[in-house]
């Protein structure tokens, strides 16, 4: 027993050391990013530093006051797109998962297999046709094609399905029906609340994915006032040598990251709890 507790102690120490190192690595990049946002272009070009400089406000003002560079508008657009996608994505994925979990119908197996099959399809494969399609639909240069397609998210569906399997007793649905609740109402008022942890997890994942998405928006958007944050950053970076300002670029990246970090930190408890509670477990 003595030996066992000693081994445990050593393991505990190792665990702490490794965790501290990993955490350091994870935080280091945020630190560098923030430090860089406080430094001027000239300082940045001269090399790295781990000490903050004095240009934080200057950089921020450069980003905020540049009329040709609609930062606030960009953040606003990003929130609409990310929030919209996240909401639609989790709601309809849950609905789809519910349909396949609770009901029995002829094409159930086909539908399930089909969704699992398209789970593997790389997005890039269809990008070409996607753009052509939305152009023909008159949705080019609009935020709609960035939001609507998230209704069909096979991976989120799969997560929701696993979650339902582990935490929704069918008897509950039965009971609701006996109480005279309509099918749709049952889903909204009884099933959704049960799924809250899973919804929270996928909401943040979808939100982050959409927030950082550069690929599709850059494809679809054309007008400056509709640009989302990642495209604005690319525009800044793409500026020519004459008004290239890396301080501004880093500040913009910081501005882009801070909101999601806040959202993440606020939600982190329920997110981790959500994954832990049911997630994709038995």
């Amino acid at each position: 027993m003595e030996k066992g507790s000693k081994a445990l102690k050593i393991r505990s120490i190792i665990a702490h050391v490794v965790l501290v190192i990993l955490s350091f690595m994870c935080l280091f990049f945020f630190y560098i990013l923030l430090i860089n946002a406080t430094r001027s272009h000239a300082e940045l070009q001269r090399g790295f530093s781990i000490i903050p400089s004095t240009h934080f406000i200057e950089n921020f003002m450069n980003v905020a006051n540049d009329g040709t560079f609609p930062m606030i508008r960009g953040v606003f657009n990003s929130i609409i797109v990310s929030g919209g996608s996240a909401a639609l994505c989790i709601y309809f994925s849950a609905l789809t998962a519910y349909a396949l979990y609770v009901y029995d119908f002829k094409l159930k197996k086909v539908a399930f297999t089909f969704i699992m099959a398209i789970l593997v399809m790389p997005t890039q494969v269809t990008a070409l046709g996607f753009l052509r399609l939305i152009t023909n639909m008159g949705l080019y240069d609009s935020l709609i094609p960035l939001i609507i397609p998230s209704i069909a998210s096979p991976a989120v569906f799969y997560f929701m399905y696993s979650y339902l399997q582990s935490s929704l007793p069918l008897s509950l649905v039965e009971a609701a029906r006996i109480d005279g609740s309509g099918e749709f109402r049952t889903f909204n008022t009884i099933v959704l609340p049960i799924m809250k942890p899973a919804l929270a997890v996928q909401a943040i994942f979808t939100f982050v994915g959409s927030w950082n998405n550069y690929f599709v928006p850059a494809l679809v958007l054309e007008t400056k006032s509709k640009f989302t944050v990642p495209i604005l950053i690319a525009t800044l970076r793409g500026a020519d040598y004459m008004n290239m300002d890396m301080g501004k670029v880093y500040m913009m990246i910081a501005v882009a990251i801070v909101p999601i970090i806040i959202v993440y930190l606020v939600l982190s408890k329920s997110i981790i709890a959500g994954i832990t509670l049911g997630g994709v477990k038995e």
Binding site: T68, G138, S153, T206, F215, L219, K224, T235
Partner: protein
């Protein structure tokens, strides 16, 4: 969800390409109704474009990759009134609006969006058609192509290049002309390059920092190589990177990368010389092995005071916008002189787009911008560039009172101006951008010793065929 997030994170240039696909779709819905009324077609018939002198559109749409043109227009154009808060609309005094569509050059986004819009041009309504677009030397030929006919000949909007633009440097006119010699664009700048060097290193290793004397030591490649040896003995490198010499070799090739009508790439002897010389110089320690190419952190750092790099081959914009911001020492530490070879690097061209409904305005802007000596001089001094006016540059070169503080009061135009006179650029093709970019990146591996010469050649061939599907063969000298 990992898959989801990953796929969504897809970054950067993929976009560029994909945006291009939009161009192939037949007529977007937004411009469909207007297309009907569109009488003036875009077939590039000269007669059609010249005639609408009276009816000018109210909106001038400009495509560009940065604000360079806009800033200069605001500074120098006498019809300029004001620009909207968000910078997207500029008003002229007669109420005409200039709408700016600015897409980053990075990863080719600008060109793909422009190409897409050009392909839709015929169907777009008058107010949506592109009126002016800009191009850079590296791809100007793509847009001045006679068959493509997207840039109007200057004569079509009433500019006679021979008289109206007589004071421009001839090579800038050649560059903007199609295969038949019809000029389809014009620029306000010429970009002759000089050798810009550190005075302290010159004194230490070469015993003098006098531009004329230093010129004697870098006057041709053989002499420069000897000088590089001397610098090396003192622990310096003559230039930072092998890429620093590329433009000098690459812009003096004897025939274009791809000749008109051909689908074969010809790698010029000059390019092979660049490869061989670069390898030799790099192995001999004349370049800094830590610096790969240009426009990256390592390269910028070689412009700092701790660097051991002697100098750079740069045009006027390079001194003020590349070296100066990265220099952390005192003003007056640098000097400029003629390099081993006269060559041009860069340049932005203004084109009138086929189908425009504002030919009068475009003519006016073009003339004010590129054919007005006074304006060109003002822009030259304000933005530290090299104006496209032969007589004006001669005046500046001879003006002893004009000196650049950064160069210790030296007047660099004394060297720029004669350098500009020597430039001939008659060997452009629409494939230049890809060739220039890919030959450098493919042979970096060879310089580093990662692959042998043959493998680097093969890698270049693979990369170029990916970029240009129609290329059938690559000929090496």
């Amino acid at each position: 969800m990992k898959r989801r997030v990953l796929s969504f994170l897809l970054a950067a240039s993929m976009v560029a390409s994909l945006a291009a696909c939009g161009g192939t779709s037949e007529g977007s819905s937004t411009d469909a109704p207007a297309a009907e009324e569109q009488t003036q077609e875009t077939s590039g018939d000269t007669a059609e474009a010249t005639e609408p002198a009276g009816e000018e559109g109210k909106i001038i749409n400009v495509y560009s990759w940065n604000e360079e043109f806009k800033n200069r227009l605001e500074f120098v154009y006498d019809q300029y009134d004001k620009t909207s808060e968000d910078g997207t609309i500029t008003y002229l005094k007669d109420g005409t609006e200039i709408h700016w569509t600015i897409n980053p050059n990075q990863n080719g986004v600008y060109q793909t969006k422009l190409d897409e819009a050009l392909l839709k041009q015929a169907d777009a309504s008058a107010d949506e058609k592109i009126d002016i677009f800009l191009s850079e030397t590296d791809y100007v030929t793509k847009y001045t192509d006679a068959d493509a006919d997207v840039a109007l000949p200057l004569t079509d909007i009433g500019i006679n290049p021979d008289t109206d633009l007589a004071d421009q440097y001839p090579f800038t006119k050649v560059v903007a002309s199609d295969i038949n010699g019809v000029q389809r664009g014009t620029t306000w700048q010429a970009c002759p390059c000089l050798f810009v060097y550190r005075r302290d290193i010159a004194k230490d290793a070469l015993g003098t920092d006098d531009p004329d004397k230093v010129h004697e030591m870098v006057k041709d490649w053989a002499t420069m190589k000897e000088t590089a040896g001397k610098l090396k003995d003192k622990g310096y490198t003559v230039m930072a990177s092998y890429a620093d010499t590329f433009r000098a070799y690459g812009n003096s090739i004897s025939k274009p990368w791809v000749e008109a009508g051909s689908t074969e790439i010809n790698v010029d002897q000059q390019i092979v010389n660049w490869i061989n010389d670069s390898k030799e110089w790099l192995d001999a320690g004349y370049f800094d092995p830590k610096v790969k190419g240009q426009w990256n952190d390592d390269w910028y750092k070689t412009m700092g005071s701790k660097s051991k790099s002697f100098g750079f081959l740069l045009p006027a914009w390079g001194i003020d916008f590349v070296v100066k911001p990265n220099w952390d020492g005192k003003d007056g530490s640098w000097a400029a002189t003629d390099g081993p070879q006269a060559f041009n690097w860069g340049g932005s061209f203004i084109h009138a787009c086929t189908g425009t409904d504002n030919p009068q305005h475009i003519k006016d802007i073009m003339l004010a911008f590129t054919g007005n000596k006074e304006n060109l001089m003002a822009v030259t001094k304000e933005f530290v560039e090299f104006g496209n006016t032969m007589s004006g540059m001669k005046e500046i070169a001879e003006d002893d009172s004009f000196g650049a503080d950064f160069l210790g009061g030296e007047n660099p135009y004394k060297y720029f101006t004669p350098a500009a006179d020597k430039i001939t650029m008659a060997t452009l093709s629409s494939y230049d951008q890809g060739c220039v970019e890919l030959i450098q990146s493919s042979f970096t591996d060879y310089f580093d010793g990662n692959v042998d010469f043959e493998k680097a050649k093969a890698n270049f061939e693979t990369a170029i065929k990916e970029r240009y599907p129609e290329i059938t063969a690559i000929n090496w000298p």
